[in-house]
Amino acid sequence: MDILEAIKNRRSIRRYSHQEISDQDLKKIAEMAHWAPSAGNINPRYYISIKNPEMIEAIKSLSPGMFGNPTAVMLLCADKAKAEEKASTNGYIYSIMDVAMAAQNMLLAAHALALGACVIRSFHAQAIGKLLGLPEHIVPELIVALGFPEGDLPKGIRNDLSEIYHQECYKGSIGNGKR
């Protein structure tokens, strides 16, 4: 699969079939996330895959941004303690960015494996941490819901590139940034 095509054709999938995802595929997705850039090569992130349907249901009830019935979810966590130990007060922000880059790799890896995926931020991190018994310094930052896609793929909608891509200098509106 061509990487440029993969980036452009990937969609957020919110409807899944009942077909189970193999442990091998989940491990491959985690491995691809692991190869995402990390500030200072600190790698303050953890990935937890969950296939237990009851646990997925519990996570879903605490995640308003999760739709459909994913057959697996991947929880992406920042290691706040490690990030702050290695990168001082900026460490936690770096770790969140690291998690975001890992999530994009996961989405593309899932797409390459013919899986559907959707990244989710709307969940209650503290409650999910409690549900999974996470220590306080391991902070859930994103969830990637996974499953084999069902139904039509959603259309990709983006505004025109010229609105957001400027060469050599900023050519957008000048003001207080309010629209």
Partner: protein
């Protein structure tokens, strides 16, 4: 459906609603109506499993599932859908 299953499913829905309320404080304003209609759809699921729904509610759920994601790319059509949904549900009083 067993009473225990009903309790469990109701608990999940209540968790979803409470988490939505908590998160909505910092989320885009349009997510408020979005979560409400999504909760309505989930409630209709629960009613269906307990054989306590109606054609009107099933049609309303279909409308929600077909249109709810408009929130992400077309505010005007999403708003029109919300209006259509209320009108659809109002028809249910005649059933």
């Amino acid at each position: 459906m067993e009473k225990d299953n009903l309790k469990q499913d109701a608990h999940k829905l209540i968790c979803y609603m409470a988490t939505s309320a908590c998160n909505l404080v910092g989320e885009p304003p349009l997510y408020g109506p979005f979560r409400l209609v999504d909760a309505a759809s989930r409630l209709i699921d629960l009613l269906e499993e307990n054989e306590a729904t109606s054609n009107n509610l099933l049609e309303a759920r279909q409308l929600i599932e077909d249109k709810k994601y408009l929130v992400m790319h077309n505010e005007q059509e999403f708003t029109e859908f919300l209006n259509d949904l209320v009108l659809k549900l109002a028809e249910g009083f005649k059933e």
